[in-house]
């Protein structure tokens, strides 16, 4: 997704773009996640600013002819639900900070909550409504952004693995080596997601991108029963968590096509692809707790993906000071779909030598190396 958005915005900056992937389009984490475009789960700070920028870009893209339907864009809004009065207070506090940062965050009492989501479990104290939260179908979004970039002149090379980064004698990037031909270019953008660390290593630099596994359950298609993206307040805590242990907080959303997606388990178990029944159980239990009617609804399938996460939960975006011509756009963890448009825009601006819309300092790719030196 991030590569697709970077290719699109770079093409729109007038650059000549070749998009290379070892698989098909959306064959990485993008094809195994969900497509929530969220501001609600982010605390004030650089990530929230990137989310707000991205949200504006998504809605601008969706306004282009045919795009919204093609990528199943829905500006449906999110509802974060508290399960206890204390939880509600904590939520309200978070919302105050988010509002100061420019987020629309409307507290809803118990009564208004059931107007928004009539099928929620009874007895919940309230929550916060975030109208800016939206949704896309990630695979369609990546494929169509690439399709649009190609109509603007970008070239797509699928089934082509990057095996090396070509450098000049002075150390600057001059292209990539693939298992097919070499591709020559003065700038290389690393948008390899969870495998971004490996790609960085090909250029001789370290980038600590690690996998964080996530499961999603998919139900049979239903008429619209869940109107917003709904999750419990503890989700925000899980997102920011540093724990390697399994965390599952229910995130429930209806989709344009009918099935309800239940997502967001988070565990750090490397690249283990084995299906885990305990995780599926925990997701199902969480979802049926929020929406009791789901107990009778059938799970059709489940899938898993590996979020690309970085130790400080911020992506790496921008030029790498260590290798001239090398740019990174990876490590977006559980928000890479949502943050892809902003990331693509920032990367394109940096590539074109323009001042980026946001300060890239917090996203500096080499920030971890410095930190190690500091503590040494």
């Amino acid at each position: 997704m991030v590569g697709a958005a970077s290719a699109l915005y770079a093409t729109r900056e007038g650059l000549d773009v070749v998009l290379v992937d070892r698989g098909p389009v959306a064959g990485g984490t993008t094809g195994s996640g969900e497509g929530n475009l969220l501001v609600s789960d982010k605390e004030p700070g650089p990530e929230l600013e990137l989310a707000l920028l991205s949200g504006r870009l998504w809605s601008a893209l969706a306004a282009e002819a045919g795009v919204a339907a093609a990528i199943e864009y829905e500006a449906k809004g999110g509802v974060v639900v508290a399960s206890t009065p204390d939880g509600l207070t904590a939520l309200a506090d978070l919302a105050v900070g988010q509002r100061a940062a420019g987020v629309t965050a409307d507290p809803v009492d118990a009564h208004a909550l059931y107007d928004l989501e009539p099928h929620l479990a009874p007895g919940l104290p309230g929550g916060v409504h975030y109208p800016q939260d939206a949704q896309v179908m990630p695979t369609l979004a990546a494929a169509h952004l690439i399709r649009i970039a190609r109509t603007g002149g970008a070239r797509l090379r699928t089934g082509s693995t990057v095996t090396g980064v070509l450098r000049t004698a002075a150390g600057a990037v001059r292209g990539v080596r693939t298992d097919g031909a070499e591709i020559h270019a003065p700038a290389v953008v690393n948008a390899a997601g969870t495998w971004g660390g490996e790609l960085a290593a090909l250029a001789g630099v370290e980038l600590p991108v690690l996998p964080r596994r996530g499961f999603v359950l998919v139900t049979e298609p239903l008429p619209r029963m869940v109107h917003h993206k709904v999750y419990a307040a503890d989700y925000v805590a899980d997102v920011a968590s540093d724990s390697a242990a399994l965390q599952t907080s229910p995130v429930v959303e209806g989709t344009a096509a009918g099935p309800v997606l239940i997502g967001a388990s988070r565990e750090r178990v490397g690249f283990d692809r084995e299906f885990s029944l305990p995780v599926a159980r925990a997701l199902a239990a969480g979802a049926t707790r929020l929406f009791p009617f789901l107990a009778q609804v059938r799970a059709m399938r489940g899938y898993l993906g590996f979020r690309p996460y970085m130790p400080d939960h911020l992506p790496a975006i921008g030029p790498d000071a260590r290798v001239p011509g090398l740019f990174h756009a990876c490590g977006h963890e559980g928000a890479g779909i949502g943050l892809s448009t902003g990331t693509g825009r920032l990367i394109a601006q940096a590539l074109a030598g323009r001042t980026p819309d946001l300060d890239l300092a917090p996203f500096r790719p080499d920030r971890f190396e410095r930190r190690q030196e500091d503590t040494a």
């Binding site: 959306a26 939880g87 494929a143 169509h144 089934g159 239990a285 707790r289 399938r301």
Partner: protein, 489 residues
């Protein structure tokens, strides 16, 4: 003896020939067996039984090797009466859980938990605990799309057979049987015997292909005799057999009224100008079978190509898990019986910490190698026409569950850069519906020009989230719904 002080417990999933043979062999050796099967009655595909009360005499004539079936059925009844086998029909297994890192000798609960859904709506949870597991879930039919194939009146070959055997209802009066594979002959013969007029048997393989692999096939006099018997039956009922032909389209407005049959050239392309219409109200079509591998895959068993990999004792590479019958490769009922018997005997010994006495299954092992050779010869002959996708028009529905036309699949590949089944599924929804791509997988792979990959399906059956949420509960206790207020309590 196991640590729980009882005879080792074996769960067998699937009560077809393979599962029945395994259950009987293991029970005879002293294991406590639970036979879990989705069907209302034992027998699987091959011995599919007429519903109780419909026991018309014709069923007997339809049943190939009736005596084998009688032997299995009576054996099952005896063991059930003696308490050595518990037969759980109408139990749809959605997953089998392996408790890892536990020593089976120390774990009184056993190593495997078979999770099933029971009841007419498949809503009630049931679990079976066992020390060992035999997967005998058989296979399923593949049908490749062609224009008109979704019309009412078009059924799968197995579907037609099942209607005949199960309900004794004749699906229609004038039938065409088409596709490829050794199942077409018995289906055509069965329809004819039941009184339908079979207007044509249309087989993509050529008589010459069959002749070319004659040496391999001839090594199996029993199988050839079987084939000859069906051929004779077709002759007797004057069923025209068109080899190296294919159905290129089915016609009708509300339901089927005719098909167009055309000749194939040696490269598997339709010969232009050879198409002719055959009026009919039923088309039974099949393009071979694929093994059911979901349960094995979720357990982490190695799958070669499309079949569960087993050793000479029918063991998978996961300790305590055996597989037998068509889940390990399509090969007919006799092969399933032989494999099932070996799996049952091996499990009986291994779960009792003994090395099995291979001489106890010598004749089954001999039959197995003979029949596997036969099966691969058959496999080489019966292939769908190499260029079948040429006939698939853009508006032909490829995925029936999600109603995805071929045009969408082609656009996903051409315009959107998909190159594999998974991406096509995500871009078009082909394979996301109720059957989870079992039906359309081969068709989409064909349109893509790629091999059908092993697909991971964590749930062998769709299951209610409430059941999943409570999947640890004892089946006798109703899972208690957890109320939100309790969360932080």
């Amino acid at each position: 003896m196991t640590a729980h002080g009882e005879r080792p417990r074996l769960a067998v999933v699937g009560a077809g020939p393979a599962g029945l043979a395994a259950a009987l062999a293991a029970a005879r050796q002293g294991l406590t067996v639970t036979l879990v099967d989705a069907a209302p009655q034992a027998g699987g595909q091959f011995h599919r039984q007429p519903a109780e009360g419909l026991g018309a005499r014709r069923a007997r004539a339809l049943h190939h090797r009736w005596s084998t079936w009688e032997r299995l059925r009576d054996g099952l009844a005896r063991h059930v009466a003696a308490g050595r086998i518990t037969h759980l029909p109408d139990h749809h297994v959605w997953t089998v859980e392996r408790e890892k890192d536990t020593d089976p000798d120390l774990d009184p609960d056993g190593t495997f938990v078979v999770h099933a859904l029971r009841g007419p709506a498949q809503e009630e949870p049931a679990t079976v605990r066992a020390d060992g597991l035999v997967i005998a879930t058989g296979g399923y039919e593949t049908v490749l799309p062609f224009p008109g194939w979704t019309l009412p009146g078009v059924v799968t070959a197995g579907g037609a057979q099942a209607m005949l055997k199960g309900g004794l209802v004749l699906p229609g009066r004038t039938a065409v049987v088409a596709g490829t594979g050794p199942l077409l002959m018995p289906v055509a013969a069965g329809l004819a015997a039941a009184g339908a007029r079979v207007a044509a048997l249309v087989e993509a393989a050529g008589a010459r292909d069959v002749a070319r692999s004659a040496p391999a096939l001839a090594a199996h006099p029993g199988k050839l005799a079987e084939g000859a018997r069906y051929a004779a039956e077709l002759l007797r009922h004057r069923v025209p057999v068109r080899s190296r032909h294919t159905v290129v389209a089915a016609h009708g407005t509300d339901r089927l009224d005719a098909v167009t049959v055309a000749a194939l050239d040696p490269d598997g392309r339709v010969r232009t100008g050879t198409g002719h219409r055959v009026p009919c109200d039923t088309l039974a079509v099949g393009h071979g079978m694929l093994p059911h591998t979901d349960l094995a895959e979720t357990l982490g068993c190695a799958v070669d190509g499309r079949r569960v990999r087993v050793d000479d004792e029918q063991r998978t590479d996961v300790p305590g898990v055996w597989a037998a019958g068509e889940t390990t490769g399509i090969g007919g009922a006799d092969l399933a019986l032989a494999e099932g018997r070996i799996a049952g005997l091996s499990a009986a010994a291994r779960l009792d910490s003994r090395t099995p006495d291979r001489s106890s299954w010598r004749s089954a092992a001999a039959a197995r190698s003979r029949l596997r050779r036969f099966a691969s010869a058959v496999d080489a002959v019966y292939r769908p026409p190499a260029h079948w996708t040429d006939q698939v028009t853009d508006d032909t529905v490829v995925c029936r569950c999600e109603e995805v036309p071929a045009a969408d699949v082609r656009a996903a590949v051409g315009e959107l850069g998909a190159g594999d089944l998974r991406t096509v599924k995500l871009l078009t929804r082909a394979g996301m519906g109720w059957c989870q791509g079992r039906m359309c997988g081969p068709a989409v792979a064909g349109l893509l020009g790629c091999e059908l990959p092993v697909s991971r399906r964590p749930f062998a059956r769709p299951l209610p989230l409430g059941v999943l949420a409570g999947a640890t509960e004892d089946p006798t206790e109703d899972p208690q719904p957890v109320r939100p207020e309790e969360e932080n309590a």
